[in-house]
Amino acid sequence: MSDSAKDISIISMAILYLFSGGLGLLIHILKLGILKDFIYSLIRMSFQLFLGSFVLMYIFKINTLWIVLLFFTLMSVVASRTIIQKSKIGESFFIYPIIFFTSFLLTFIFQVVIVGTDTWYDARYFITISGMIMGNSMNACAVALDRFNNDLKENYDLIETLFSFGASNFEAVSIFFKKSLRSALMPIITNMSSVGIVFFPGMMTGQILAGSNPTVAVKYQIAIMITIAIFVLISTMLNLYFNMKIALRKFLDGV
């Protein structure tokens, strides 16, 4: 548990940006057509992360309930918006409360029950853990919603048939509901089986670099992966459920 990770000097950072310049040049020479995207993303990444680090430093210093809640709310709104944009769904207002409450509850449990910090809203844990949970599951949630809506559109005739046989709303779409939920969960389950051999996740690597005992880092990693899986399952299930309610409104109001 010795000293924290060695700082990267300004000169080293400059070298890294020089390398990025080389990468950009290569993209240009090879005519890959993504030079603009690369430059734009590089600038955004640098700006967002540095700004983020200042914001985090500020929040960690103040560390009051209100500032943590405010920042957490902002994060959950951004995560929800990302899901909405990626999944291209129409009516989507239900996603905001679902992401907010599920991630809040799970982060709370993680912090109070699993880690057991002194204050439940300690920013150093609450912001980073909730950020990891939401960040690692946005994609899964979006993919599941997108797939579900496509399936509903493509299988309208089958769903209509099942309704004619007395299916309830859920029964009529349960095949597709389960399929989408599986597709959301599979990547994290696959990750679980390869972690530690094929790749070392950022959180664990970061903790080890920062001087944590690898055993502690591993325990955190296991805890976060299980939490993410639970979050993906619960939030996707809820999202799919409300999405289904809206999508099937015309069947629901049939008579």
Binding site: S164, F165, G166, S168, E171, V255
Partner: protein, 230 residues
């Protein structure tokens, strides 16, 4: 005796009135065929009758107002709409048929294997079809399995939307014979533009201007063609 009555039935889609029928009743024991120009609203009428779409007015089954008396899941089985192109849950025929009985509203009904065998014989199918994959069935086989599936839930009326459009003439004749064989057990209402189907039905209904009009029984092929606009 099953009796299906409609009263002030209206269906509007995007404010356009597609169905507007004051009063009509269907009885078990006859094959009713509704025909008319395409796009006139025949299928819409059939879907409304099967409670698959929103409608105004009332539908009574044996004197009971369906909307007031039963939940949608029950109504749709009693007066049961059957699509033109049958759709199945993928997999083996037997599993696809059983799937319907996993629904809460069908639990009391139960999957009756003996009745299934009776129907399979009645339709001139072989028992081995139950083990086949749905996707390997021919159009005619799918059609018959689809009707068998519908009869398994014991509806009072079946509403068939263009049931013979995908069948060849020979299979169509068989199908009509079959409908005649079951019309005393189930009420049969068909929407069709097939002249054979219309000619062989007991009661012929011309759908025009949002309404159904009964046509004399001995109408000939030529006059039917004229009415349909062929």
């Amino acid at each position: 005796m099953s009796l299906l009555e409609i009263e002030d039935l209206k269906v509007k889609i995007e404010k356009r009135c597609l169905v507007d029928i004051k009063r009509f009743s269907f009885e078990k024991g006859f094959i009713y065929t509704i025909f008319g120009k395409s796009g006139a609203g025949k299928s819409t009428f059939l879907k409304a009758l099967g409670s698959m779409i929103k409608y105004e007015g009332n539908i009574y089954l044996n004197g009971e107002n369906l909307k007031q008396k039963y939940p949608l899941t029950e109504i749709r089985k009693k007066v049961h709409y059957i699509r033109q192109v049958p759709e199945f849950v993928p997999g083996k025929v037997i599993d696809s048929l059983k799937y319907i009985f996993s629904f809460k509203s069908n639990r009391d009904l139960g999957f009756d294997e003996n009745y299934l065998n009776v129907l399979i014989d009645k339709f001139g199918l072989d028992q081995s079809i139950l083990g086949k994959d749905i996707k390997n069935l021919s159009g005619g086989e799918k059609q018959r399995i689809s009707i068998i599936r519908s009869l398994l839930i014991r509806p009072e009326f079946i509403l068939l939307d263009e049931p013979t459009s995908a069948l060849d003439v020979y299979t169509e004749d068989n199908f009509i014979t079959f409908l005649n064989g079951i019309k005393n057990e189930f009420g049969v209402i068909v929407v069709s533009h097939s002249v054979d189907m219309i000619i062989s039905s007991d009661i012929k209904l011309f759908f025009d201007k949002c309404n159904i009009n009964r046509i004399e029984e001995d109408i000939d092929t030529e006059n039917i063609r004229k009415l349909i606009g062929e």
